[in-house]
């Protein structure tokens, strides 16, 4: 395993590399198929480079543990807006999640519907491309349209365009408190209707989820965050908005609310259970119809627009779903299944050509997480 201690060392590694490399942050999010090659880890590129609470800005080296960043922000009553999920329980991994890994996977959580994804908070990157060239884009200010936005391109590129060395974020204030409204026993259809109703209200819902729980009672959850008086006011107002959907229970113990949303964020319901895990992004109102096609467990988030699926092993869910507006990612499966089914959703030919073209430019030697994002399978 290569573990460069500086950006310059990282650049040397990649300039010298002649064979494919498996790019790794903390190794806690091995999403999709295994990547061949020597491991190139960013774990030694550690440290917060700059933190200005008064400017809501943080810059950190890519290998900085996420927990360290969250602790530093917490001390100043601030947070990363997009609530990155922790994949360890779901994927059965251990290790230390890094901020670079969060960016590489564009990892967000339930708050994505209100505060945006990781890519929306990311304002700057430094990375090394597949030839060993150091490239920077964006910076440390939250409004920046100087040249092309490669920052967005790097977010969610899973190390296939370059190895991140430094990332910058805009932050938000931490909230004083939170509350959760719960509706029980709704069908998927009514649940998504209720979530839509709430999200179309002016009450700034920051979490809108529904666990279908076939066989048992379903549970639909809405989260409110902010100053105590405001949360209390909006909780009442939202109950009014949802009056036609069954009785609403309110949970106002912030610790309990935080735990419930942490479980939702990390999909702990599927942790340790056998089966493949898929993640579907769709138009929220399409969610229930998509869910109905699935013979397995489903958990909705993002008001119905994100569906976590646990199904029997080796099954190509994309064939079951057919064409729909959105995409399905195979997050967890056996090696045999991963070898057969592309991890990422196949793109229409012109878009696939653009993505391939970009990869060839940024990784001309074809050595960065080779094949991880490929959507065409090698001929059998």
């Amino acid at each position: 395993m290569l573990q460069p201690k500086s950006e310059a060392e990282l650049a040397d590694c990649l300039a010298a590399a002649k064979h494919p490399m498996a790019i790794r942050g903390g190794g806690t999010r091995p999403i999709g198929r295994a990547v061949a090659g020597e491991v190139l880890s960013t774990a030694a590129l550690k440290g917060i480079t700059l933190y200005e609470p008064g400017a809501l800005t943080l810059v950190a080296q890519a290998g900085t543990p996420l927990a360290e960043i969250e602790a530093v922000l917490h001390a100043e009553n601030q947070r990363l807006p997009f609530e990155p999920m922790d994949h360890r329980a779901l994927l059965g991994t251990d290790g230390t999640p890094t901020i670079g890994g969060v960016v590489a996977g564009n990892v967000s959580g339930p708050r994505r519907i209100q505060a945006g994804a990781a890519r929306d908070s990311l304002i700057g990157v430094r990375f090394v491309d597949g030839s060993g060239t150091v490239i920077k884009n964006g910076g440390r200010v939250m409004k920046n349209v100087t040249g092309y936005d490669l920052v967005k391109l790097m977010a969610g590129s899973y190390g296939t365009l370059g190895v991140l060395s430094e990332v910058s974020f805009k932050l938000l204030p931490e909230v004083e408190t939170c509350a959760c409204l719960i509706l029980e026993g709704l069908s998927d259809q009514s649940a998504v209707a209720a979530l839509s109703r709430a999200l179309a209200s002016p009450y700034e819902v920051t979490g809108a989820a529904h666990a279908a729980n076939r066989g048992g009672r379903s549970r639909t959850m809405l989260r409110l965050e902010g100053f105590a008086k405001s949360v209390a006011y909006r909780t009442d107002a939202l109950r009014g908005v949802l009056a036609e959907f069954r009785a609403v229970e309110v949970i106002s113990d912030p610790d309990l609310v935080r735990q419930m949303w942490k479980d939702q964020r990390d999909v702990t319901a599927f942790a340790g259970q056998t089966g493949d895990v898929w993640r579907i992004s769709c138009k929220p109102s399409d969610g229930p119809a998509i869910g109905a096609k699935i013979k397995g467990e489903v958990i909705y988030d993002w008001g119905g627009g994100l569906i976590w699926v646990l199904v029997g092993e080796g099954h190509d869910l994309r064939k079951t779903l057919g064409a729909f507006g959105g995409h399905a990612t195979l997050i967890r499966a056996s090696e045999a299944t991963h070898a057969r089914i592309p991890t990422f959703h196949p793109e229409p030919a012109p878009l696939a050509a653009l993505s391939d073209g970009l990869r060839r430019k940024f990784d001309p030697k074809g050595i960065l997480n080779t094949g991880l994002m490929a959507t065409a399978m090698p001929a059998a």
Binding site: G54, Y148, L150, L153, P173, S230, G305
Partner: protein, 479 residues
């Protein structure tokens, strides 16, 4: 500002190109009369002008595709144009280029309140997107000052911001999907009513690419429910430094205003003379706006007013009703118009870390004396996006050049303190030659790769964004 020399081979086949365009478009959609093409000779950066070879106004994605296919075959550069409000020269043509205007693409295609999006053709103006949904109490968040006139196509091209992005983000944070025509005429759909990309985030790099990667004809935009209420407060301070500290303290206190606007004395004086908004005469003025229910507004304003009081304000005024709120915003919203009344001016758009505000304002003041040109500052303080307005006399020989040199120095200062050349207006031709102060040649090369992939012949808006010397071989090779 240098532009590439027109390609004589293209000028020579002008008649054929226009006739081919007429074959695929309605007669009145192809403009080639030299009197009429003058309307397209510049955008809001009026110091630079050049009529195009022709202008076309297609009415559908299919027509845009036909136009681009023909221009691709003929090797003709295409300059996409929204409403022509760019302050950076983003829509400035060359004599051998075809202007592709989206002005006739104005329809609302789909409104979906359950899923909180609207799908529009991109010639629609920013304000009329909100106009299409406000009867249902929804709005489209990005609100550039030119929102009455500017088109969504241009907003996407420049990744436009506005006064309220501290809370709601800029265009890229509110754009869910596009229908885009590639230079060879291929129509692609990217994103849609769902969130985030399934593969590489192509939408993310298209937004803000200044019309160099494709022509966006339709857009899916996130719409939001209007807040229950909003209220501004106005604060006056006796120095820029103190006002800057106050901004920083408000942000650190955990409240998130939707807008924090800053004006300095020259700007206050000019707008007061013009708009008579009743502003106090002081060194620095802040407008801070919060949103929510009455109780939420009260709670946030109490925190903000407490902080303001600790900075010895010379004025502290909370809007008691809608009329007073409008008066507080009146001066700010007429600031550019007011400055235009008293002078020619050049509006800059650099962004700086909020912490550098006092230093940067002091240095701008010093440089203003050195150059002998006045500056008024009005800007979005919460996110550090400055808008220094440099005053000059367009009729005085040499003044424009002096003004441009001063502007370049201010932008270099922005980069020096950790900021950037442009926060929301775009690079266009205006900041093109300063790109190497912010980025190294290799940083820029990586951006050029993206254009190489999307537009291999370098025909879309080719003389913008990057210094001409950096793109020369690519453009020449293409021709």
């Amino acid at each position: 500002m240098e532009m590439p020399k027109p390609n004589p081979a293209i000028l020579a086949k002008r008649t054929r190109i226009i006739s081919r365009l007429r074959d695929v478009l309605p007669h009145d959609a192809v403009i080639d009369d030299p009197h009429e093409t003058r309307a397209y000779e510049c955008d809001a950066l009026t110091a630079y002008r050049c009529p195009p070879l022709a202008a076309v106004l297609p009415q559908s994605t299919a027509e845009v595709s036909e136009v681009l296919r023909i221009c691709h075959e003929e090797g003709v550069p295409v300059v996409p144009r929204g409403s022509g409000t760019s302050l950076a020269g983003g829509a400035l043509p060359t004599a051998d280029s075809v202007i592709l205007g989206v002005a006739r693409l104005t329809q609302v295609l789909e409104t979906d309140y359950d899923n909180r999006f609207i799908r529009v053709q991109t010639g629609r103006t920013n304000l009329s997107v909100t106009g299409a949904v406000e009867a249902n109490d929804f709005f489209y968040a990005p609100d550039p000052s030119s929102q009455l006139a500017c088109a969504i196509a241009g907003n996407i091209g420049m990744n436009s911001g506005g006064a309220h992005c501290l809370k709601y983000g800029v265009t890229t944070n509110n754009l869910l999907g596009v229908t885009m025509v590639m230079m060879d005429g291929t129509v692609v759909e990217i994103g849609g009513a769902h969130l985030d990309a399934g593969g590489l985030d192509l939408l993310g790099v298209i937004c803000g690419s200044e019309g160099q990667l494709g022509v966006v004809t339709e857009a899916t935009l996130r719409i939001l429910r209007k807040p229950e209420g909003a209220r501004p407060v106005l604060m006056g301070f006796d120095s820029n430094e103190v006002a800057g500290e106050c901004v920083s303290d408000i942000i650190k206190a955990g409240v998130l205003p939707v807008a924090i606007e800053f004006m300095d004395r020259p700007c206050i004086e000019a707008t007061e003379a013009f708009a008579k908004a009743g502003y106090p005469m002081c060194e620095a003025l802040l407008i801070v706006e919060v949103e929510g229910s009455e109780a939420e507004i009260r709670e946030q304003l109490d925190v903000i007013l407490d902080i303001a009081k600790r900075h010895n304000p010379v004025e502290l005024r909370e809007a008691a009703d809608a009329d007073q709120a409008a008066r507080i915003w009146l001066g700010r919203k007429s600031a550019f118009g007011a400055m235009g009344q008293i002078n020619d001016y050049m509006c800059l758009d650099g962004t700086i870390p909020v912490s550098s505000l006092p230093y940067v304002l002091r240095r701008i003041g010093e440089m203003s004396k050195e150059y002998g040109l006045g500056v008024a500052n009005v800007f979005h303080a919460g996110d550090g996006n400055m808008h220094p307005l440099i005053l000059f006399d367009a009729n005085k020989p040499g003044d424009l050049e002096l003004c441009e040199a001063f502007g370049a120095d201010i932008l270099k200062l922005c980069v020096e303190v950790g900021g950037c050349l442009t926060g929301e207006h775009g690079v266009g031709i205006e900041k093109r030659d300063l790109m190497l102060t912010q980025y190294t040649p290799t940083d820029l090369e990586a951006q050029l790769w993206v254009k190489d992939v999307f537009d291999p012949k370098w025909l879309l808006n080719p003389a913008k964004v990057f210094p001409l010397s950096v793109t020369e071989t690519r453009r020449d090779h293409a021709a």
